[in-house]
Subunit: 244 residues, 2 copies
């Protein structure tokens, strides 16, 4: 299919859409980031809401990000990253290794979910201000117990790989997502992340290696890259960046 | 590869391992459910712990379930289900549709995670008894807002499919997982689930259709099938089954 890619995601936050953007950018393929385009170009919120309200044909999506590619309508960031990665040489070819790349992507998504749930432990549909006490407790446990284990896990994967990237000598889509995860955690919990990352030099080196990829470096310097903020998955609430 | 499958998962709860077992059972392939075998047959907790402590070669796993197939070590239930589904005719062949099946599987996993977090909103590593107040609030929001939306989503997918199964005329692995999700929600929240499911007749029909598959029916009647209990993802705490 030679149709261009269309990405539908909330325009004001990097969130889970950013995992998809990084694959598109590293692949060097053109895409329309629909909700960030002007309304007169068919952009804005409305085309995104049309999906959420079931007005567009194709497989229903529970939530954005949504990728449209010709007839294909695909949701779930890990599935979209796998789809794009496999099409553009950013995924292993062998079925077992292809699934191991997906395994890593899913664990990255799990960490992102837990990081999100530190500020929304009771429910995502309630305001942070209405669950601050629970958020305080959740953040403490996340920083004390979960974050060191999660970062240590990826460090171990890189140790076993023994190469530049998670899956060996070739960059694959979970490397890009792991970069975004590390950046997000460092933004949300500057103190807590710095403490845990003292034990994970390979992970920090991978983060730097991704940032220096020519296409990624150009993207990060462009206005296509959205800054982290307090609407997204990774939010910096200083009162939640606990510890000594 | 003609090597037999080995599944490593906690032996006392269905949990996320059950999504994998259902694919293995519907495929009709032999497998060793290692942690449930006697120690003298190489079973028990120890071989599972060897993975968790990094003593086994292969890609590290953050958590069970873990599938071993020859040289392949694969974690994350959605990745394992996709791997098995693709090998045994329980996944679409076309790349876009293959990813849509994965999309559905990931949304099922998201619902399972949220159902788990109703009893463990602050952190999975704390006891339920230490987060009961937050669990009460989380369950209320889950039953009032999230559950009807989630069930309604799968109902809409089945409506659009217009066929017996999520992806059309042929059963695929997310159908099996959706069965398990519905069974788990009905176990955990008998009142809350019954209320929400009044609006989702297609979903209930799919649940019944899966249960009647000859291999699944035989499995459900066997002692290989683990009953739901209060150690797993779906737990029945009557005080959390809220609403009128």
């Amino acid at each position: 299919m030679a149709e261009p890619y269309e990405l539908y995601y909330w325009p004001i936050l990097p969130g889970r859409g950013e995992f998809v953007r990084l694959v598109l950018e590293e692949a060097g393929v053109p895409y329309r980031d629909v909700a960030r385009l002007p309304e007169e170009d068919g952009g804005g919120f409305k085309p995104l809401l049309a999906f959420m309200q079931g007005e567009r044909p194709g497989q229903p999506a529970y939530a954005p990000p949504i990728l449209v590619h010709g007839e294909l309508v695909l949701a779930q960031s890990a599935a979209i990253c796998a789809y794009l990665g496999e099409r553009h040489g950013l995924a292993p070819a062998e079925p077992g290794k292809r699934m191991q790349a997906l395994q890593l992507q899913l664990t990255i998504a799990d960490v992102a979910d837990e990081a999100h749930d530190t500020h929304h432990p009771i429910n995502a549909s309630l305001y942070y201000e209405d669950q601050k006490d629970a958020a305080h407790k959740a953040s403490q446990h996340f920083l004390d117990q979960r974050l060191p284990r999660f970062l240590g896990y990826f460090e171990r994967v890189l140790e076993r790989s023994g190469r530049a990237w998670l899956m060996g000598d070739t960059l694959t889509y979970p490397d890009l997502s792991l970069f975004q995860l590390v950046e997000g955690l460092a933004y949300a919990f500057p103190k807590g992340f710095a403490r845990a990352a003292e034990q994970t030099p390979l992970l920090l080196a991978l983060r730097d290696r991704v940032a220096k990829r020519p296409r990624i470096a150009a993207y990060l310097a462009s206005d296509r890259r959205l800054a982290f903020n307090e609407h997204g998955v990774f939010r910096h609430y200083p009162e939640l960046d606990l510890g000594d």
